[in-house]
């Protein structure tokens, strides 16, 4: 991992940021909306990758926390008179708290057992949301949630999401660069050795889960800002699987891979879907081609092409 940004790097980042800032002014509204959606999914995938790629945990039901964030936000906005910012903070907090509870049960377990226990616990939350008609609207969900007028237009919500997304990326980057992030990767690569040198492995795992679920909650809140709806699909395991796939596809040993994975899946879904009802078939074929030709994920591949002497940002021993 590099310790400092070169001037050139900062230049690139600034250029990208400038680009995404001016894009809404020149592209049609639908693309602005799609980009905003990509940021939301990208944040969700990034937060998952913190525990999957960097923590080596089989976080199989990440969507449960995303949904908890979204539902908390939506419920506070529709059922209480509390101001927007309280709802905005409460969503991620509720998600983090849920993450802490579920994570507490799960960290004792390993690999698939970890994943399946999480699916079972997450599905319990899903079942509650699905059945609690008086509060959550049951399987119909809650729709047409009003946003403050300053972020209600497509462009305004885009900029709002862009700002939050950028802030989250910076924080995530700093976390991964911090001693905590380094310890996390060490645990992923060799848990036994970490245990013997006195690192509390389970505590680190739990902390990683809480951080990642907090960010999942932020993604959930942002989803409501874009779509103004919440519904039980947000907490269903199929979405979790999709987000997991985004990480794998983008390259789960890289920092920015999940962004690319999210962008690819969302664009495929949106634009192939307009041409054929068999778009999952096409998605499947594309996935298989990627598995065969880009084993490190798309970003892993790009990283190798760009700098053949060095593996990706955080490539492990795998």
């Amino acid at each position: 991992m590099r310790d400092s940004f070169s001037l050139k790097t900062i230049g690139f980042l600034a250029a990208i940021f400038a680009l995404v800032l001016v894009l809404p002014l020149v592209i049609p509204r639908f693309y602005t909306y799609t980009l905003a959606l990509i940021y939301v999914m990208a944040l969700l995938a990034m937060s998952l990758n913190l525990v999957v790629g960097h923590g080596g945990l089989f976080q199989f039901h990440h969507a449960a926390f995303y949904g908890v964030g979204a539902y908390t936000f939506a419920l506070i906005l529709t059922k209480t008179a509390m101001p927007f910012w309280i709802a905005f903070v409460a969503g991620p907090l509720a998600a983090g708290l849920t993450g802490c509870l579920i994570g507490g049960f799960c960290v004792r377990l390993t690999t698939l057992y970890f994943g399946m226990l999480q699916i079972a616990l997450g599905s319990l939350i899903w079942a509650i949301v699905f059945r609690w008609y008086s509060l959550t609207g049951g399987d119909d969900g809650i729709h047409g949630i009003d946003m403050p007028s300053c972020i209600s237009s497509t462009n305004a919500s885009y900029y709002f999401i862009l700002v939050i997304f950028t802030l989250c990326l910076i924080i995530l980057y700093l976390i991964l660069k911090s001693p905590f992030g380094i310890t996390l990767r060490a645990i992923r690569d060799n848990p036994e050795r970490c245990e013997t040198v006195g690192i509390n492995v389970n505590l680190h795992k739990l902390a990683a889960i809480v951080i990642s679920t907090l960010f999942a909650g932020i993604a959930g809140v942002l989803f409501v800002v874009v779509e103004r709806s919440v519904f039980p699909d947000l907490l269903f395991w199929i979405l979790s699987l999709e987000v997991f796939i985004m990480c794998l596809l983008g390259g789960w040993f890289t920092f920015s891979g999940p962004i690319l994975g999210a962008a690819i899946i969302v664009s495929l879904r949106t634009f192939v879907g307009t041409y054929t009802e068999y778009w999952t078939l096409i998605l499947g074929v594309i996935l298989i081609l990627l598995i065969f030709f880009l084993p490190e994920g798309v970003m892993g591949f790009l990283a190798q092409k760009a700098r053949p002497h060095e593996r990706g940002l955080t490539a492990g021993e795998k």
Binding site: L19, Y31, L37, E227, D233, R269, T274
Partner: protein, 405 residues
């Protein structure tokens, strides 16, 4: 950081490709955007509705509407609300459709109604979803329904059952919005018409539950006078199979909305249970009037099988759209809505009206009993009693009360 540069280059290339896709039309046709589910179990209904719609369009476009043709484009929602929203926005923002039509998923219909139709001011016509909330408590200027809903179905069931001598009821069904909505509507109306009825128990199972024998066994053990099943779609088939396998229909009277649905009874073939009461808003063999016979004949010629209720809904949706644009005199969304309110058209089941107060189409309901037919190799609805639209519709006052709350 070269990776980032590569990323930028790639995404710009993609964006360039995507941006070049939509082309501007000069004198454009009327565009209808259809979002519905064409995969998974509900696909059978989505495809049927689309066929009905296409059949009507073929006829409409021979003459044209305001000198234009009606064009449609479909999007598959995969029965997911987020994809439905995504696709609806795509149709509105990118394809610039004049009317949205969809979908079987009531969650998706409500979401698109609130977050797209109302916000973007584009009319949405719901054609399969049966949630009464779409045109009931969640109704607004931009949403219409061309199908029967749970309030109508429940009222039909309540009215029908109130004429029977049963007192002790058991209510069972799929544990989701549709099941509960039907149960509530049926019970509300039954209780009003016949106050001495009582529920002795309820069972709810997860939608799509494969093995219903344990539920039925425990219901039979309690010996109710009659059972109200609240189920639909593919669970319907599972319920009918379980009823047949346990011989339930011979032991206790059963009412299920859509039990007499052709899409359910046909695949069951000779395995369908007889004597189950069901309600439907359309049968291809009933009402046996020339308009329906002509519709069925044309549909069978085009698609090789008789139309189901979604095809009927799709057909009248197209007819309503064409008639409303003709009446409006221009391709304008607001004028279209004004024209559609209170509009009456001829349909395979006679003249039908789009009610002005709640944007809900007024349809009659047919109560019948499943019976093997010598004419077909599957069971059909028999001894059909027609409940007129006025009998089964909630009144405008009730709707306004629900919306006002």
């Amino acid at each position: 950081m070269k990776r980032l540069l590569l990323l930028v280059v790639c995404s710009m290339a993609c964006a360039g490709l995507l941006l070049s896709a939509p082309a501007a039309h000069a004198a454009r046709p009327i565009k209808v955007g259809i979002i519905d589910c064409y995969s998974g179990p509900p696909a059978v209904y989505g495809k049927d509705a689309l066929n009905g719609f296409k059949l009507a369009l073929k006829d409409i476009n021979k003459k044209g509407v305001l000198g234009r043709k009606i064009q449609f484009t479909t999007r598959d929602t995969k029965f997911k609300v987020d994809i439905a929203l995504n696709m609806a926005k795509e149709l509105v923002m990118r394809e610039d459709v004049d009317v949205l039509v969809g979908t079987i998923n009531s969650g998706a219909a409500l979401a698109v109604s609130a977050a797209v139709a109302k916000k973007e001011k584009v009319p949405l016509i719901v054609w399969i979803s049966k949630s009464e909330r779409i045109t009931g408590e969640k109704g607004h200027r931009y949403v219409f329904s061309c199908g029967e809903n749970t309030a109508m179905a429940g009222k039909a069931g309540g009215v029908a059952l109130s004429k029977k001598p049963y007192v002790k009821y058991w209510i069972a069904g799929d544990d989701y919005e549709y099941g509960h909505a039907i149960a509530n509507a049926a019970w509300r109306n039954l209780k009003k018409l016949k106050p001495d009825v009582k529920v002795i128990g309820k069972s709810w199972w997860k939608p799509g539950e494969p093995d219903l024998a344990p539920y039925i066994t425990s219901i039979l053990a309690k010996k109710p006078d009659a059972v109200i099943f609240c189920t639909g779609g593919r669970s319907m088939t599972n319920v009918m199979k379980a009823i047949k396998a346990t011989g339930m229909a011979e032991k206790v009277p059963i009412w299920i909305h859509t039990a007499t649905d052709h899409a359910v009874l046909k695949p069951l073939g000779p395995e369908a249970p007889e004597g189950v009461m069901g309600t439907m808003d359309y049968h291809f063999y009933y009402p046996d009037i020339p308009a329906n016979r002509a519709f069925v004949k044309a549909f069978e010629a085009a698609y090789g099988n008789p139309p189901g209720f979604p095809a009927f809904h799709g057909y009248i949706t197209a007819r309503f759209i064409a008639a409303a644009f003709r009446k409006a005199g221009s391709v304008d969304k607001e004028k279209f809505i004004n024209a559609l309110e209170g509009l009456k058209i001829a349909s395979p089941v006679g003249q039908i009206e789009m009610r002005k107060c709640d944007h809900q189409v007024v349809l009659p309901m047919y109560l019948g009993v499943t019976k093997k037919s010598p004419k077909y190799n599957f069971a059909i609805s028999s001894n059909i009693i027609t409940l007129t639209g006025d009998e089964v519709m909630p009144t405008c006052a009730e709707i306004m009360k629900a919306r006002g709350k």
